[in-house]
Symmetry: C2
Subunit: 228 residues, 2 copies
């Protein structure tokens, strides 16, 4: 499982639980980790503070926070403050917290940075099991992005093959948490809530809070409160 | 050729010649035009002033300028001011003015806005004839992006099919200019140079200047100076 060559990889880190475990996994596999976060006008912008602490705790070669004002586009309860975050439980439909083209943009940013670093490995903590049904978290999206990356870039045209690693995509939230604990991830540094207070107090009722809480419960564990 | 239904479309507008003609074409085809420009830390940021004037001159329903700090990523003479813009003529190789993942990011932004507008038509003025060899200007890139858009979005998953229109992709620069003149595009509002002065004076030597100048020459026309 360990890659001995110290290959560079770009890892998307939001500040949430999943991306923290993804970063820890990439590091454990021997990659030289370049963490990328996006300040996209998200309602839960305080997650970027969590991202900084996660990255510092796990250790990376570099961390960039790229600004991208998706709040100008809106269309999601996470980028348009006039739309309410649903709190009555997870439904079958794709919820209003879906941000149009978000993971396409995030992976494109990761791709751009990877090309500059001459890296061909990208990591994203998407999950298609305990998730909100977002289309850009599914394996078919990842495969289509890899195909695009090949023809979109100088590196691809010149023979490089980008790989988008999604180590959590088929895991339950409980399995992700267990994996993280095994790797020593400090979950008290992570923040998953879609509408935390400015100091990071969670709502406990949004989909992200419910999925996270359910994962810890299944393991018979208590979710640690956010470190001050 | 005219679409009578007043369908919404998102058109990428840089401030250059090609995207001005693309916007004029979309409008002539009957689309309700939403213009999108990106302030990405480009060396030739003054092109955004040209974009504003082009959009105003042709007329659109809305114009957004999205901020995205690609200069944090660099790797291109257009986003890293320590790299010189080549001025000795167009070569076969992909030049240093290539910006990693730029059109992937631009189309992803257009896709996100389109989804919010319930639009499925995107327009981009890429050209694979009189161009600098950028991989993300070629038909195979466009096709791969359409495939991605289908699986990346709520609209796609729910049955929508995004179409990326590239009306200029197989035209010479002279043909693009001729097309624009027919549509009444005022080229004195457009700016193509990669390294203009702060007031928009062109260098006359970069690839973009050369391609543009050659196009006008082929038509026996004089490229009008930038309107003050």
């Amino acid at each position: 499982m360990t890659i001995p060559t110290n290959l560079p990889a770009v890892i998307l880190v939001s500040g949430g639980l999943d991306s923290a475990v993804t970063l820890a996994l990439a590091k454990a596999q021997g990659y030289r980790c370049y963490a990328l976060s996006v300040d996209y006008g998200q309602r839960h912008r305080v997650e970027l503070q969590a991202a900084r602490r996660v990255v510092e705790s796990i250790g990376v070669t570099a961390h960039k926070i790229i600004h991208l004002d998706l709040d100008q586009i809106g269309g999601s309860a996470l980028t348009d403050m006039t739309l309410a975050v649903p709190v009555s439980g997870i439904t079958q439909a794709i919820p209003i917290t879906y941000v149009p083209a978000r993971n396409t943009l995030f992976l494109s940013l990761a791709l751009g940075w990877a090309e500059v670093l001459t890296a061909t490995d990208l990591f994203i903590g998407v999950n298609a099991i305990d998730y909100s049904g977002y289309p850009d978290c599914r394996p078919e999206f990842i495969t289509a992005f890899e195909t695009l990356a090949k023809v979109a870039t100088k590196a691809g045209v010149e023979g490089g093959q980008f790989k988008v690693h999604t180590p959590l995509i088929q895991l339950t939230k409980a399995q992700i948490i267990a994996q993280g604990l095994q790797l020593g991830v400090d979950f008290s540094l992570t923040l998953s809530c879609y509408q935390p207070s400015a100091t990071g107090e969670i709502c406990g009722q949004c989909d992200a809070c419910r999925l996270r809480s359910h994962g810890f419960q299944q393991l018979g564990l208590v979710d640690p409160p956010l470190s001050p």
